[in-house]
Every structure is written in structure tokens, then in C-alpha cells.
């Protein structure tokens, strides 16, 4: 069966160049980067080369890049590493963050911190003024993501960075879903901390990084050796780090080479075709600036969960909401925070493109989607006839 993968916000395939770059570091150049001897030196050199590549993607110094096991660890390191629970620090974050930030913030609150969650508007954007208003004398950290994983909506991080600097408050941004899709320049963002995940940008799973601005004092999460300048103990994941470095290089080249324009055109074609050929549909976050690879579509009268299963059985991998521990779909906290009706939040589908996707992939998905939607609606207990639906004002 033909299978097309349109769930690149969940994870991406490792690009062939990335795999090639990693390959020597499993068996031939297997050294521990902390070792004194030749083998260790080879590994160390590879790690530092990769650090340089990541720094280039971020526009920062190599020494400001800390490798982690992934985006979740990077987010945890930022929040738990910076916040002093005993001092009673105040944290500002948003209602649409990834759970790696939201659940860390929740834990900080349980430990005694004050946490303020700023809302988003109907397009899924944080208003920087809300953040300004939430500032308190004891505010120590603002954490707002750069691009949302479900809608792709870009947050006004530059403005937030500016007001954070004015208020002398640390600013962390989870850029896991932005990396490789839009330029990331920490100076323009004005952030002190920024999280990356390898596997969202065609590097392998199990590697990530946290940008930590020079002079920012972080308590480590993991204690042990003095790896990563004592900010993250544990023998370096050399193949993963090399993969992330290569993926960062490729991301820089792709951004310069028009790859995002290509994917943006494919994404726009998906949206246009769906909106034109299937009634009672829409785009969540439409009108807001978004990463070019993501679209979050809603289909009236349909459960997104059933749609994802039906599409998968036809060979199209898509996503909706978030998976809970059993693997069932939970209502999306992001769409709910945008004020969407529960039915609309449940009837939404995320399609996200990656570099491996072609125009033919999109053709295939668009050839499958209308039939799947038609069957789901035909069998939906709440489906109204098209004539009626056409006049239904959808919010």
C-alpha cells in the first residue's frame, strides 16, 4: 500500500545526509568525547563541530549550546534550571505551550512558585501586552513558544524578548517546531534560552539542544561528570549530536535555498483544495503568521480521531489533538485555548509537511481525503445535509 507521511510535527525521517554523517560514530569512531586518547579526541572534535553548526543555525556562540536528550529535556532544563523555588519566583507562560513546558510549570507551581498562564486570541496568538501586564517584581522567567506544534502559529517572540529585556526577566522560547522552518536568530528573538529537538528537523530522536545565553546561571537537572560545561552530565550522545549538527547545516541551507517556499506552496495547495472541494471546513489559526509546513484544518460534524484512523487505513499519516498514555486522542488544549467550540476542536486535523514530501504526496492525500470525509459525515449522527450546512455559520 502506498503510504504518505504528513505528520512531520510529530517526528521527521532522518535525512540520508544526516544518516551518512552519523554512521562512522557508531562503530568506527566510537570514542568517548571526554577521553584523552585519539579515539576520544575524534569524538570530541565531532561534537564541537556539531556544536558550531547548531550555533550557526541559532546565530549564537558555540559555547552557548548545551546538548540534551531532546526538546523535553531542554524545556525542563530551562525551567527547573533557572527557577528558584525557595525564592518564590514568578513564571509567566502561555496556555498553548507544549506539555514539556506546561507540565514543568505545573510542577513548579506545586513546589511553591507562582505561575501565570497568558491566554491566546482566536488565531492562537499570545498578546505581548498580556505578558507585560502579568509582570511582577518577582517575575524571573517568561516562557513562550516560537511556533505552536498543532497550529503552526508563530508567536510574537521578538516583542516578548524586547519587553523581557526591559523588565530584566529571563526569556525562554521553545523553538522545537520553528527550527528549520523559519530563521532562528537568538539576537533578533531576544531570548536567553531556546529549546531545539533533533527529530523535528530530520535528525534522529533522542537528541536536542538548549541555547543558554552566556552569563545565564543554570542548575543542572542531571548530576555526574562535568560534560557540557557542567550544565548537563552524562556521556555525550556523539552520533545523535553529529546528526543534529548535520541537520542544522541542512536547515540553514534549505532556508536559504527556497525549500520552505516549496513546502509552503504545497501546504497552501492542501488548504485551498480542501476549502474549495469540501463544504463546512476551515483553517484553525488562519490569518496568523504560521510556519509554512503546517495546516490545522477543521471539518464540521466529524471526529478528528476517527478521521486520523480512516486516513491511516488508506495510507495517509496525519494527526489530531494529543495522544494520551493509552494512545487514545485527548481534546487539544491548544484549540480549546483558542476558544474553539469542543466539536470544532474535536473535528480538527493536523497535516504537517517535511523535506521528504513531494507534490505527488500531496496529490495522493488530496485524492483520499474527500472520500474519507464524506464517509465519516454520512455515518455521523450529527451530520446535517449540505444545503443546511452551507448556511451554517461556522465559528
Amino acid at each position: 500500500m502506498r503510504r504518505v507521511y504528513l505528520d512531520n510535527n510529530a517526528t521527521t525521517p532522518v535525512l540520508p545526509e544526516v544518516l551518512e554523517a552519523m554512521r562512522p560514530y557508531f562503530a568506527e569512531q566510537f570514542g568517548n568525547a571526554s577521553s584523552i586518547h585519539h579515539h576520544g579526541q575524534q569524538a570530541r572534535a565531532a561534537v564541537e563541530r556539531a556544536r558550531g553548526s547548531v550555533a550557526e543555525l541559532l546565530g549564537c556562540r558555540a559555547a552557548e549550546v548545551v546538548f540534551t536528550s531532546g526538546g523535553t529535556e531542554a524545556d525542563n532544563l530551562a525551567l527547573f534550571g533557572l527557577i528558584d523555588v525557595e525564592k518564590g519566583d514568578h513564571v509567566i507562560t502561555s496556555t498553548i505551550e507544549h506539555h514539556a513546558v506546561l507540565h514543568s510549570a505545573k510542577r513548579l507551581a506545586e513546589l511553591g512558585c507562582d505561575v501565570t498562564y497568558v491566554p491566546v486570541d482566536g488565531q492562537g496568538r499570545v498578546d505581548p501586552e498580556d505578558i507585560r501586564r502579568a509582570l511582577r517584581p518577582n517575575t524571573n522567567l517568561i516562557s513562550v513558544m516560537m511556533a505552536n506544534n498543532e497550529t503552526g502559529v508563530l508567536q510574537p517572540v521578538g516583542e516578548i524578548g524586547k519587553l523581557a529585556a526591559e523588565a530584566d526577566v529571563y526569556f525562554h522560547t521553545d523553538a522545537v517546531q520553528a527550527a528549520g522552518k523559519v530563521p532562528l536568530e537568538v539576537e533578533r528573538i531576544g531570548c536567553d534560552l531556546l529549546s531545539l529537538s533533533g527529530h523535528k528537523m530530520h535528525a534522529p530522536q533522542g537528541i536536542g539542544a538548549l541555547f543558554v545565553r552566556k552569563g545565564t546561571l543554570l542548575r543542572p537537572l542531571l548530576y555526574g561528570g562535568s560534560h557540557e560545561r557542567s550544565r548537563r552530565a552524562g556521556t555525550e550522545n556523539v552520533p545523535g549530536i553529529v546528526g543534529l549538527g548535520k541537520a542544522a547545516e541542512l536547515a540553514v541551507a534549505a532556508l536559504a535555498g527556497g525549500e520552505m517556499e516549496r513546502l509552503g506552496a504545497l501546504r497552501d495547495r492542501i488548504q485551498r483544495t480542501v476549502l474549495e472541494s469540501i463544504e463546512a471546513t476551515g483553517v484553525n489559526g488562519e490569518g496568523a503568521p504560521r510556519v509554512p509546513t503546517t495546516t490545522n484544518l477543521y471539518f464540521e460534524f466529524i471526529e478528528g480521531e476517527a478521521m486520523v484512523i480512516a486516513l491511516d487505513l488508506k495510507g495517509v499519516a496525519a494527526a489530531t489533538g494529543a495522544a494520551c498514555s493509552s494512545g487514545a486522542t485527548e481534546p487539544s488544549h491548544v484549540l480549546t485555548a483558542m476558544g474553539l467550540r469542543p466539536e470544532r476542536a474535536r473535528g480538527s486535523l493536523r497535516l504537517s509537511l517535511g523535506k521528504q514530501n513531494t507534490s505527488e504526496d500531496v496529490d495522493f492525500a488530496l485524492s483520499v481525503l474527500p472520500d474519507v470525509v464524506a464517509r465519516l459525515r454520512e455515518l455521523s449522527p450529527v451530520y446535517k445535509r449540505p444545503e443546511a450546512a452551507a448556511h451554517t455559520k461556522v465559528k
Binding site: 471526529e303 480512516a310 487505513l313 498514555s325 493509552s326 494512545g327 464517509r375 455515518l379
Partner: protein
């Protein structure tokens, strides 16, 4: 019928539904495995009277893990589908309400009627399946003579679950498969072993799936506390059939008809719960012989082998899961179409409101309803 003829197997992670998947796989049918996420076990953890970490059976991660492993072993697509909202609305809430009203509910039948053969069937059809197969011990077949889909007891009567399935409509039955209806449990385990399924020796589950440890009273308290609802006052008097007050009780939900323990009244002869009056909160107690009665009223009837009940019909009627069907006559009662009167030839012990009464003609399920 869809082009594919695909069947959705409702997989619980137990031996029975896993064997169903294995049997249908061996037939070469296109299959999809579905597990329903119905209840979040962590929800009531830490509520008053509940342990911090609640490990119930329903939707436990272990069961999902087992089901997923089976699907993987058999090489069939598998998904977990979230029906928590409907389950709470159509099963959990009514379960709590019934107890608070002095009745003894059967959540499994509610789940079959509202979730498994309704919501899950809709989902299954939406994703391209034509029918749902489950691990129930019962048989379903089409009778061309009557032009009706029939529900029959399992060949292995000790395993028969047709009692819980009386609410299935003709449409639902036409899209339902019970591949274990002609098998014995040992044969089912053998199927699982033969297909290399790791869970072949997994013990049967008995308790209500969403009530950990089977303590429904604690569950009701914890659920109401979680909902922030002040429980309605349900305490009241224990009275005899003559109206004499012989004691007090802490709530009608703590009783079921026929119950002997926990009355807190010492008398010369054993006392049993005879009736529970939700409105006056009185619990009527009396001797064993007073538990027997010959008649009951059934509401919300569903007919399977017949289109409707027009005149008195001789049946064997079963009034609880562990009850040997007894000879009775069922007849339409009053003007209300969906009410029937059942008169047993011999008095039956502990006819319990909230339970189902299911009418049989030998192996055939004629229909059934809820005991009023």
C-alpha cells in the same frame, strides 16, 4: 457492505477478544483492532476513600499494552479510540444515579447498548469496517423466515452473556459478530496459545471495569466528590413490611434487594432487604420467604425475535446474570407501549429493580427490558 468487507475487532486486552482477532485473522478477513479508552483511572485517585494510585481494570495501560501486542503479533492495524465522554454520560452517571435512587444497575448492559454497539460501531463504520466483532459468548444469526436477526445463547451455557446483550437493535445485530458463541473457554485459550499470544493464560475479569476493587460504594462517594456535587440525602429508616421502624441506614445506595449483610439490625431470624424506596429513602426488610414474588414490570423494552409484543407470550424469564430462566408470561401492560408485565409460574427470589429481565424461548433471546 463496503468494498473491503473489513471487520473491526473490539479488543480489550483479554483472552476472549484476542482470540476473536486471531480467529478472524486466520479466516483472512481484513481486520482492524480497536480498544476503547472509556475511563481515566487516575481521575478518582486521591479522592476521599480512594487510594492515591487507583489500579482498576478498565482501560488500564496494561490491558492496552496487551491488546497492542496481540495486534502486532497478528499483524493487524490497531488503534485506541477515546469514548470517555460518552461513557461517563451514558454509563457512569446513570450507574451512580440508579444506586442513589435505590436501584441496582448493570453498567455492562448500558455500555453494550450505548457504547460498544452504538458509538464504537459508528466509529468502526466510519473508518471503513462493515461490522464489529467482540469476545462476547453469544450467537447472532439471520432468520430469513422471520426476516429478523436473532440473538441466541452461547453453546457453552456457563459462559453465556446474552443477558447483557438484550438491548441490541436489529440494525446493531446485523453488524455484529460473536465468533466465540460456539466455543468453550478452554478452546478459546487454546486458540490464543496456538497463535502465540502471550496472554493466553490471563485470568478472566469479573468486576465492573471502572470500579477498582469492586467497591462501588466508595466509587460513588469519590465520583460525587470529584464532581463537586453534594450527594443528595439518601439515609433513612429500615422498616418492616408492616411499617414498623426497626433501625436506620446511611444511604439507599448501600443496599440491593436480597442483601443480608450490613443491615445493622439484630433480630432473632435473618433479615433481608426486600425493597428500596428511593423517594421516601425507606429500606424495607423482612424474612427470606418475603423475598419471593411472582410479578414484575419491565420498561424500555427491546424485542429481538419478534417485532413487537401484541398479546401474552409464554417465555423463560431471567432476572439477573446468575439466574436460571424461569417460566413466565409476558404481556403488554397499560397504555405505555414500552412497558410489560411479567408473571412467573413460580415466585422468584429477590426481583431487583434496575436489573434487566430478559425473555428467552429456549436458546433464543425474545427480548428484554429493565425491571422497574
Amino acid at each position: 457492505m463496503t468494498e473491503s468487507g473489513m471487520i473491526a475487532v473490539a479488543m480489550s486486552g483479554g483472552v476472549d477478544s484476542s482470540a476473536v482477532a486471531a480467529l478472524l485473522r486466520a479466516e483472512g478477513r481484513p481486520l482492524v483492532g480497536l480498544t476503547m479508552q472509556l475511563w481515566n483511572q487516575r481521575r478518582l485517585a486521591g479522592q476521599p476513600g480512594m487510594p492515591e494510585a487507583v489500579q482498576g481494570r478498565c482501560c488500564s495501560l496494561d490491558d492496552v499494552y496487551d491488546a497492542r501486542r496481540v495486534a502486532e503479533t497478528l499483524g493487524i492495524p490497531y488503534y485506541v479510540v477515546n469514548h470517555e465522554e460518552r461513557f461517563e454520560r451514558d454509563v457512569v452517571r446513570p450507574f451512580v444515579q440508579e444506586y442513589l435512587s435505590g436501584r441496582t444497575p448493570i453498567p455492562c448492559s448500558l455500555c453494550n447498548n450505548h457504547i460498544k454497539f452504538d458509538q464504537l460501531l459508528v466509529t468502526a463504520r466510519q473508518i471503513g469496517a462493515e461490522s464489529v466483532a467482540t469476545g462476547h459468548y453469544a450467537r447472532v444469526e439471520f432468520d430469513s423466515g422471520r426476516g429478523r436477526w436473532l440473538l441466541k445463547r452461547a453453546l457453552d451455557r456457563s459462559r453465556d452473556q446474552s443477558y447483557f446483550l438484550f438491548g441490541l437493535t436489529q440494525e446493531q445485530l446485523s453488524r455484529t459478530r460473536f465468533p466465540l458463541g460456539e466455543m468453550r473457554k478452554e478452546e478459546v485459550r487454546e486458540v490464543a496459545r496456538r497463535h502465540g499470544l502471550a496472554l493466553a493464560e490471563k485470568p478472566d475479569s469479573q468486576e465492573i471495569c471502572f470500579v477498582p476493587g469492586g467497591d462501588y460504594k466508595r466509587f460513588i462517594d469519590a465520583y460525587l466528590a470529584e464532581q463537586g456535587e453534594t450527594p443528595a440525602e439518601t439515609s433513612g429508616d429500615l422498616v418492616t413490611t408492616g411499617g414498623e421502624v426497626v433501625g436506620e441506614h446511611a444511604g439507599v445506595q448501600n443496599f440491593t434487594v436480597g442483601q443480608r449483610k450490613g443491615l445493622g439490625v439484630a433480630t432473632g431470624s435473618p433479615l433481608y432487604v426486600l425493597q428500596i424506596h428511593g423517594d421516601t429513602r425507606q429500606v424495607v426488610v423482612g424474612g427470606d420467604q418475603e423475598l419471593y414474588s411472582r410479578t414484575l414490570r419491565a420498561r424500555d423494552l427491546n424485542w429481538i425475535s419478534i417485532a413487537e409484543l401484541r398479546e401474552p407470550l409464554r417465555v423463560q424469564a431471567k432476572i439477573r446474570h446468575r439466574h436460571e430462566p424461569a417460566a413466565a408470561t409476558v404481556e403488554p401492560a397499560g397504555g405505555a407501549e414500552a412497558v410489560a408485565r411479567v408473571t412467573f409460574d413460580q415466585p422468584q427470589r429477590a426481583i431487583t429493580p434496575g436489573q434487566a429481565v430478559v425473555f428467552y424461548d429456549d436458546d433464543l433471546v425474545v427480548g428484554g427490558g429493565w425491571i422497574a
